[in-house]
Amino acid sequence: MSNHPTYEERTANFDWSISEKELGYKKGDPINIGWMCSDRICRMGLAGKLALIWEDYQGVQKRYSYDDIRVLSNTIAKYLVELGIQPGERVCLFMDRVPELYVGFLGILKTGAVAQPLFSAFGDESLFVRLSNARTSAIITQKKHAFKVRKIRHQLPDLRHIIVVDAGEAALQERELSFQMENTPGVEDFPVYPTTSESPSVLHYTSGTTGQPKGAQHVHNSLISQYLTAKWVLDLHPDDIYWCNADPGWVTGTSYGIIGPWVNGITQVVLDSGFNAEAWYKFIARHRVTVWYSAPTAIRLLMKEGKELTRKYDLSCLRHLCSVGEPLNAEAVHWSQEVFGKPFHDTFWQTETGCIVITNLPGMPIKPGSMGRPFPGITASVLNPVTFEPINQNGVAGLIALRPGWPSQVRGYWNNELVYQAKFRNGWYLCGDRATIDSDGYFWFVGRDDDVINTGGHLVGPFEIESALLEHPAVAESAAVAKPDPVNMEVVKAFVTLKPGYQPSDDLELEIMNHIRKRLSPLAMPQEIEFIDSLPKTRSGKIVRRVLRSKEFNEPLGDLSTIMND
């Protein structure tokens, strides 16, 4: 029998003040995520407790106590303040999963500046779009990524400082500074900026159907949701060893790869390595990981490597498993039950929600393939796409919508109020996904409600890919759509028409694929390019991605009356 409260017990009389009370926070008081995740934990008598065990792919290991995290984040904060970084300015973190990324995140927040984490595999174009939009003042990066910044810095007049954490003896260039965290004298006391609940904290970029990526602006109040969802959904206990696979370049990597475990005073482990099933199992066994937050793509890759591999290692330490990023298929739930003796619990949320909003709480019966039920304090429904009224019939698909007002709700898109307002209809926030609800109140994912491509749990916007495709000298017109994929759920497929003088070929396909990979990111790289004579368009000349996508998914093409025939 489970010792966990039932779903009904959790939701009865729920109020977010539960979280505020446990955190010792009173409304109106200053609240700073950087301080709450380090200094506060030390004051609770946990200064000597391990906060982070970090390991790279070669097995090099570093360990940091909560007091180390407190002092090192103070050190980074002081360094930034001495450079003239002011509260509210954006400071980008552009690094692999090295300790400076995790500690730097808290350091930036302690100054009152806004942390802008970006995925280190982004190419120079993706980086430029996000830094120029945010008018970022400083970027903290590694030597191996600094060259991408060098390519674009002349177009970024607001970027005053390029801070390289491992420059060593390497020659620095214009605006570049060397900062070595471990070799800088530790700062014992730093006057943490008294941010309040609505002070901006983190700016995560997310993709939409139209236009360039949008900066989702979060505030320090997000901590209230992140603390309790981490504690209840991830079921974190004081003696847990927690591993979150997500990179802090994405929202899971900050909400539950930094804030969630550390505000709960948990020891977390980080593996700075690409995917390798055996290395992952060894890592779990070596560190006796008890709680694991992973993603369906990773789980399906593990499934591909077979059950035998899991039997080579003692994985009995695993107590609770969760998954995020895309719908978790029923086979993956059954597989984990068989090989780990426990199921993965699916969780649903997105950059804009800041925290898990629909989930399988521990103690809830799991229906494999279902997203679960709304987290206590979250009012969720599915809406009719025309009237934006809740659909009160079980099993009928509608738009997933949330009643605004939970603590970590995004407060806006950076410099893009119009697009932000368009996310709200009839008093509901629209997630951009479709689902059904069954008679027990469980949500079942149906698909996206727009052209955004969910590949390996990451959202990729077609507009960004199409813009980059057009930069290739051979490409006349392009359309990027989702294509079903057994591992990544969806991958990018591009349809391309060529300029006169160019002929389709394998060489050209490979060249275009690599062009997108380098300009944007590996996630955005089309896994397939189809050369065609013309793209389907409306009479006004707008490319109709819907038709191309429907063909990939073997779905009905819908109304074609507005499509122009060439």
Binding site: F147, R150, G274, N276, E278, E305
Partner: protein
């Protein structure tokens, strides 16, 4: 270093190691687990191998382990060249 090994290594260096990145790629450098090539980028590497070597690598064989070093990639290519 034989021709095939050189072909694979040179392609990896040219396409995945960017200017200013001083990492050295040997036959045993971990590419996937070392973060040089990710699972998405494997697709373009697989296409390159299939085209240059005149083989077809089934998706089931294109695993992160098989693509983790120049050495393992060469072994994979040779397996399909023989078959």
């Amino acid at each position: 270093m034989d021709d095939l090994t050189k072909l694979v290594r040179d392609y990896v260096v040219r396409e995945y190691i960017e200017e200013g990145d001083d990492r050295e790629v040997t036959e045993t450098t971990p590419l996937i687990s070392g973060g040089i090539v990710d699972s998405f980028s494997m697709v373009s590497l697989k296409r390159f191998l299939e085209k240059k070597c005149g083989i077809q690598i089934p998706d089931a064989d294109a695993t992160p382990v098989a693509f983790d070093t120049v050495q393992s990639i060469v072994a994979l290519v040779r397996r399909f060249q023989k078959s």
